[in-house]
């Protein structure tokens, strides 16, 4: 788009673009059905949480041995997928990759919602949510749990800023193009646009702030998931006692994060009719990104499982055999094959790097990623150093119960609700950045 356009043509094309992106914020086919579905999920969650608050954690399948179950697996999953904000905006953005421009807001929306829910999941994991305050009154700075709370909070704040900052010029654009918007909504846009006029000084400030935050979020994001991995790796337990858990978790996070972005891209592309902005080209590129991060993750999986399997240290052997051929084999191989192997192999073919097939592959990858977190969290606890004995038979296994599953699905529903709301009040594609890339004059953008 480097050719010079006449001013009028540029204005027309910018108008069309802004209209296309803003339109679904007010007219959106199937929204009611979707909101109703979310409402059902959240109601079910509310009832399940009520049961858990009333009767305690006894309503879950958690017990003395498996005290971290589906909730913590879910927590790790949310933290993992939230890292994609950092990967897209910071790593790729700072290295000047152009094709991420229309995707970056989707990535940030996912990062914000998933990071927020990750923090909430911990509260749902507690039988007495009020005790979350104990971490502030009695928390030990020596404990990775305190570090985890710190970084999750900070990551959420930075992700929110990284969502809001690039929205500032867009606020200015959309507030003139939303005829149905309520006064309150317009007021919010007004506040959030921070008096954006598009002056060179403002451009300078906004670019500088985004760049600083993009740099800052890289170590913070690495920290959030490394610390999450340390919740496990700083113990001596079979399967958790690993030195590569940090990078292993981070690389896995990128796989689930990119898969989540692909699903979101597909959904917004079809339901918001953004085919002109989230094109096959973008899907092709992000498919290649998924292959890359999956390959890195594959490499870490080989290290994480084949090296201990080669040694078969006593104690570790039980764990590894239970995963490879034992009671966890189905879930383990599902996670490995669909969460890692399939994306690598299938996306090497050009035919597969199209929105439709990618949607299916990414969904499988997300399911695999979720299963993988379960595989990391649960089996180790059922293989303690001292044998499980003199306890009820039910303590030898972990079976999530109905309320537990309902609460877990509820948290996914919450994340989707936040994404839905954010995508209704904000444009899912950064209009001003895409326009600038197309060579449209700043004057037209800020008119």
């Amino acid at each position: 788009m480097s050719e010079l356009q006449s001013k009028e043509e540029a204005r027309k094309s910018f108008d069309k673009m802004a209209k296309d992106i803003v339109r679904p914020m007010q007219n959106h086919f199937g929204l009611n059905a979707w909101v109703f579905t979310l409402f059902l999920i959240l109601s079910l969650f509310g009832y399940a949480w009520f049961l858990q608050l009333r009767d305690g954690l006894g309503v879950t399948g958690l017990h003395d041995y498996t005290s971290w179950g589906m909730y913590i697996a879910n927590f790790v999953f949310f933290v993992a997928a939230a890292l994609v904000g950092m990967l897209i905006t910071a790593v790729l953005g700072l290295s000047g990759v152009k094709w991420i421009t229309p995707i970056s807001r989707i990535a940030e929306i996912i990062a914000v919602s998933f990071a927020m829910i990750a923090g909430l999941v911990i509260v749902f994991d507690m039988g007495r949510p009020d005790r979350v305050l104990n971490i502030f009154f009695h928390g030990r700075l020596q404990s990775p749990i305190v570090w985890d709370i710190t970084v999750v909070t900070i990551y959420t704040i930075i992700s929110m800023l990284l969502l809001l900052l690039p929205l500032i010029p867009d606020m200015n654009i959309i507030k003139k193009r939303l005829p149905k918007a309520s006064n309150m909504q317009l007021k919010m846009y007004n506040i959030l646009s921070l008096g954006w006029m598009g002056t060179p000084e403002q451009y300078k400030i906004i670019h500088k702030s985004i760049r600083v935050l993009s740099i800052l979020i890289i170590p913070v994001a690495l920290a959030i998931h490394t610390v999450t991995s340390w919740l496990f790796a700083s113990t001596l337990r079979h399967g958790w006692d690993s030195t590569i858990f940090g990078p292993y978790f981070v690389s896995g996070a990128f796989v689930s994060g990119v898969a989540a972005v692909i699903i979101a891209m597909y959904v917004f592309r079809t339901s918001y009719k953004l085919q002109d902005y989230l094109t096959d080209f973008h899907f092709d590129k992000i498919a290649k990104l998924l292959v890359l991060v999956s390959l890195v993750y594959f490499y870490f999986n080989i290290n994480e499982f084949l090296v201990p399997a080669y040694k078969m240290k006593s104690g570790d052997d039980h764990h590894i055999l239970a995963l490879f051929v034992g009671e966890w084999a189905v879930l383990f191989w599902f996670a490995q094959i669909f969460g890692n192997f399939v994306p690598i192999v299938l996306l090497l073919f050009k035919k597969m790097r199209k929105p439709g097939p990618m949607m299916i592959i990414a969904t499988l990858a997300i399911l695999g990623a979720w299963a993988k977190r379960f595989i990391i969290v649960v089996p180790t606890q059922l293989n303690p150093h001292l044998p499980i004995q003199n306890v009820p038979d039910s303590f030898h296994v972990y079976t999530p119960t109905g309320p537990e599953i309902a609460i877990t699905i509820g948290t996914i529903g919450m994340a989707l609700t936040i994404i839905t709301i954010l995508a209704k009040i904000f444009p899912v594609i950064p209009i001003w950045e895409v326009a600038e890339e197309k060579g449209i004059d700043r004057e037209i953008i800020n008119e």
């Binding site: 009695h138 928390g139 030990r140 700075l141 020596q142 570090w147 710190t150 900070i154 704040i157 930075i158 800023l161 900052l165 500032i168 921070l194 008096g195 954006w196 006029m197 002056t199 000084e201 403002q202 400030i205 906004i206 500088k208 702030s209 600083v212 935050l213 800052l216 913070v220």
Partner: protein, 306 residues
């Protein structure tokens, strides 16, 4: 002929398996082993030797003989002073001690024949009706054991060589004399019992026994520890002991592993390096975030100016 061999073999197997299952219930001793008689002559000396061995190897399960304070195991170890034991022949006891069964270890590899017989001689000293069998099984009171009463210990300390010389005296026929042949134990009091400084020492003909204390034993923070010198055969002489605090040990300063700033400490004793790292990293990030928020305010001002 062949058939007969086969039949007799089968019979043998049946008989063996029946007898085997019987041993699982009652501890049968082969009759030839039952008849074995002691290979040593029981005496005060063998009894004393047996007592020491019993204290080391048997007491942990069988308890103090005569007090029935054996461990509640299954099958029960039982009290060797009980009828259960006194009704058995010397040969039976010896066989069981030698071969062991289930929880009872086989002592044939740990104790020599004479030592095992010494243990039996000690056990037999509790069996009032015991009649010596065969050639040797008779308890001979040895004249070498001192038989006086009102035993007293006189202690001499050599501070330089960390050596203690004791003289044992007792009353014989109203006269105070030196007590030869008395076994004396030298101990240091520790948290959970007495630590033997050396093997028990028997007093010489002048009633004197010596023991050298090692110089590197940990004492309290000043190097003090309590020594206890006592007669081993308290069943003969009553409980005679001497106690004193000496500063012969090495000063031992106990460091509580929980005190101080450690990773395993509580929230008030954070290691300094961790506190500094945490605060500086979090502060750096928060200040940067604060800077960005300031930039946003600046952005607003820049718009108003125009």
């Amino acid at each position: 002929m062949k058939e007969n061999i086969f039949k007799s073999a089968l019979l043998a197997i049946i008989v063996l398996s029946i007898s085997f299952s019987a041993t699982a219930q009652v501890w049968e001793v082969p009759s030839d082993k039952k008849e074995i008689t002691p290979a040593i002559t029981f005496s005060m000396k063998t009894k004393t030797q047996g007592k020491d061995i019993y204290a080391k190897s048997c007491k942990s399960c069988h308890g103090d003989i005569g007090k029935a304070n054996f461990l509640p195991l299954n099958p029960a170890p039982n009290d060797p002073g009980s009828e259960r034991f006194s009704n058995q022949t010397d040969g039976e006891l010896f066989f069981k001690l030698t071969e062991g069964r289930g929880g009872m270890p086989a002592f044939k590899s740990q104790l020599a024949d004479n030592e095992r017989w010494a243990v039996i001689s000690y056990i037999r000293s509790f069996h009032a009706d015991y009649k010596p069998t065969g050639g040797g099984g008779e308890i001979v009171e040895e004249s070498s054991a001192f038989t006086g009463t009102n035993i007293k210990l006189f202690v001499n300390k050599d501070q330089v060589n960390l050596e203690i010389t004791i003289e044992v005296q007792g009353n014989v026929d109203g006269k105070t004399v030196s007590a030869p042949g008395v076994r004396v134990g030298f101990f240091i009091e520790r948290n959970f019992g007495l630590l033997s400084v050396c093997e028990p020492v028997t007093t010489n003909k002048n009633g004197i026994a010596k023991a050298k204390f090692p110089g590197d034993l940990p004492g309290d923070s000043l190097g003090n520890y309590n020594i206890i010198i006592k007669l081993i055969d308290d069943d003969l002489y009553g409980n005679v002991e001497y106690k004193e605090t000496l500063s012969w040990g090495k000063a031992f300063i106990y460091e509580n592993p929980i005190e101080g700033n450690h990773l395993w400490g509580n929230n008030t004793s954070v290691p300094l390096w961790l506190l500094i790292s945490y605060i500086s990293v979090v502060l750096f990030v928060l200040i940067t975030i604060g800077w960005v928020v300031l930039q946003m305010l600046k952005l607003k001002k820049a718009g108003i100016k125009k």
